[in-house]
Point group: C2
Chain length 215, copies 2
C-alpha cells in the first residue's frame, strides 16, 4: 500500500512511517515544504536503508497515496485539509490529531463541541472516509521498530470496513487495534491523550499508554 503521512516530519508520523515501511508499505512523508519532507525521508532511510520511503509536499503526497494519514498538530489541521482536499476523494483518511490545551494535561474541549476528527469530516464532507486512530500512542519508542509497544490503539469511525483496514495497519505497526465505535467517540480518545500527558508528567515517564482488558 502507498501511505502518505501528512505532517510526517514529526516524531509520531515518522515513527509510524518507519514501522509501516518495515511491513513492506511504500511511505511518502508529506510536509508543508517539499524539501522538509525529502529531508526527513532521507533521515529515515538512514535508519532503515531497505525501506521504501520518500518525501515531498503534502498535496503531492496525498495525490500519490492510497491511504492518507493526517499527523499534523491540531492548529494545522484546517489549513492542511483545505490544501489537500481535492486529493482525498475516495481515499481512506486516518487522523492521528489530538488537540491539547494549555496546560496540556487538561482535556481541551474544542469550541465546536466536536472532536477534531468530526471537524475534519465536516470540512471534507459527509462522503469522506475518515477513521481516527493512534492519538494515544507515545512517539517515544515508535521509531525503535523492534521495541514492543505495550499499548492498544482505539479506532473510531463510521465504516466497519475502513476500521478493519486500520486494524490491519495497527498490526503492521506492531500494535493491537480495537474498534472503539463511531467517529463521535473520537472525542474521548483525543481527550485521553491529554490525560496520558498528565500521567507522563506525574510519573516522570515518557510513554504512558492504555490497554483494554477483559477481551
Amino acid at each position: 500500500m502507498i501511505i502518505a503521512i501528512l505532517g510526517g516530519t514529526g516524531p509520531e508520523g515518522s515513527g509510524l512511517g518507519l514501522r509501516w515501511a518495515a511491513a513492506e508499505h511504500t511511505i511518502i512523508i508529506g510536509s508543508r515544504l517539499a524539501e522538509k519532507g525529502q529531508g526527513v525521508a532521507k533521515e529515515l532511510k538512514t535508519i532503515s536503508p531497505e525501506s521504501d520511503i520518500s518525501g515531498t509536499d503534502n498535496l503531492s503526497a496525498a495525490h500519490e497515496a492510497d491511504v492518507v494519514v493526517l499527523a499534523v498538530p491540531y492548529g494545522a489541521q484546517q489549513p492542511t485539509l483545505a490544501h489537500v482536499k481535492e486529493a482525498l476523494t475516495g481515499k481512506l483518511v486516518i487522523t492521528v490529531v489530538a488537540p491539547v490545551g494549555k496546560p496540556a494535561a487538561r482535556v481541551y474541549r474544542l469550541p465546536s463541541g466536536l472532536s477534531a476528527a468530526e471537524e475534519a469530516r465536516e470540512q471534507l464532507g459527509e462522503n469522506a472516509r475518515i477513521v481516527a486512530a493512534f492519538q494515544n500512542i507515545s512517539a517515544h519508542h515508535l521509531a525503535d521498530i523492534d521495541y514492543h509497544l505495550d499499548c492498544d490503539v482505539l479506532i473510531c469511525g463510521d465504516s466497519k470496513d475502513d476500521k478493519q483496514q486500520v486494524i490491519s495497519l495497527c498490526e503492521d505497526a506492531g500494535l493491537r487495534g480495537i474498534n472503539a465505535g463511531a467517529l463521535q467517540n473520537a472525542s474521548v480518545v483525543e481527550g485521553l491523550t491529554s490525560l496520558l500527558i498528565g500521567i507522563n508528567i506525574r510519573h516522570r515517564v515518557k510513554a504512558a499508554g492504555i490497554r483494554i482488558t477483559g477481551i
Copy 2:
C-alpha cells in the same frame, strides 16, 4: 471510615460497598426509599455476614457518613444532590456517575458541555470536595470480592489530598487508582464508559476495562 453509597442498591454501588466492608469500613447503603436501602443491605449481609453494612434513605446515609459516594444513574444526579446537599458540606464526595447516551456505545455529550462531575460541582458550589472515579469499573465481578479485577481506576479532581484518599479507597477495593488530573478531565473518563460498553457488545464480554501502561 463511614462510607455512604447513594444509589447503593445498584450493582456498582453495592459491589463497591461489599469490597470496602471487607476492608473494615462501615457502609451505609442509601436509596430513595429507606426500606429499599435496608433490603439491599440485608442481602449484602447474607453474602458477607461479618461486614458492617446497613441501609437507609439517601439523606440519612449522607448525614451519617464521612465519605459520600454518588452511584445513581445520571438522570437521578440532579434531584439526588438537591435532596442531600445540606449533608455534604465539608465531606469528600466521590462521583461514579457516567452519563450514557442512546445507543449506549456512543459517547453522550451533555448539553452543558461539561462532565457530569463538573455539573455536580456547579450544583454543590465551588467548595464542594468532589472527586470523580470508578466510572469505568464493570459491576460484573465487583461483588465477587475475591475476584482480581484487571483494570485501573482513573481519578479526576482538583484536590491532590482528596484524590490521594480515593487512591487509598481503590486499594481497599483491590484496584489501582491513578491520578488522571483535574475534574475537567472527568469528561474523558465518563465517555470511556460508553466506549467500554461498545467493546463489551462487540466482543461479547461483560467486563472490558482499561489499564494504564508504561508507568
